[in-house]
Symmetry: C2
Subunit: 209 residues, 2 copies
Amino acid sequence: MDNGKTKIPAAVVRRLPRYYRCLSALEREGAEKTSSQELAQALRLTASQVRQDLNHFGGFGQQGYGYHVRPLREGIGAALGIREPRGAVLLGAGNLGRAILKNFDFEACGFRMLAAFDVDPAIVGTAQHGVSVYPLDVLEEFTRRYRPSVAVLTLPASGAEEAASRLDLLGYSGIWNFTGVDLAERSPRLSIENVNFADSLMALRFRIK
Amino acid sequence: MDNGKTKIPAAVVRRLPRYYRCLSALEREGAEKTSSQELAQALRLTASQVRQDLNHFGGFGQQGYGYHVRPLREGIGAALGIREPRGAVLLGAGNLGRAILKNFDFEACGFRMLAAFDVDPAIVGTAQHGVSVYPLDVLEEFTRRYRPSVAVLTLPASGAEEAASRLDLLGYSGIWNFTGVDLAERSPRLSIENVNFADSLMALRFRIK
């Protein structure tokens, strides 16, 4: 589905996962059709913005009729690449890393979790929620053999920059960064998604009295 | 700083924490002035959008001169409420909850972490990174006595809705929700900030080949 990818503006891409989740929920509830109004309400957008956004997935909606839930969900899922899973590894199997391995559904987001890496001898050699933990110094060897695309960074902030450089050298395509350090993109080939908890909590602080 | 709050559009509010972080970093580096171009580059926005956003904090910028870093950072911090910390509690001191207690700087976001609550007898009665863990069934009593404003939800997804209703009844002003369940706002008095890891990973999946 590379044909559609380049045309979709970044701001729309940011919203696609929310459409996808909302449509998945509607599908689970047995809904066959939905409307821009219904989606707008669920996603706190305007109906006209929803119609604009979903125009990028032409063919699933009709004027005055609404949208077919399943094909629209599948179209967005295909655009997101969810149907073609990529390999992922996790660097740093401390509390946060283990919480993510335990609770997070990588498959549903288009990834397969292959292995975790850590430096702590107490955790290396164990399996955490079904994922084997290897010593961090075999990352190069593992990467050459299994060709993961993405690394989840759950190491301490102090190790973030060095790990990112190492992953860049190893040819990774993406970093999902939980270290709290804002990593800048170092090459166009390596996408970085900085998860910043503070932004979300500050937004909440603003909204309360 | 309530005077400015109601006037700032939601989309701008969403960006304020990023401005705040960027300005804090500039200040640490000793910068006294910055420009809309510099901020735009750091935040991946256009310079004209930066100027529009920062117009809501009038008086810190001058045409053709740029912005004074510290007063602008302080003005945004005040608008965000960071200088008047509110009490917070954490519900669910498992791996994710403990990772947040360990790594997250609540003070920097305008909160003071007062206590954690859990049902696991192995963890109740301990202190996790300096925060005492109480049995979940004393939440009512604790809340009446210490009047926290916000609850961090790091319990299993299955307990999310029930916990939210309980917090609503107890008069909480905000929920910082990590359960992965999208909680709908139940009353205008209770703001909910849903942190959805999946959205961010799906956005990354889209960006890699």
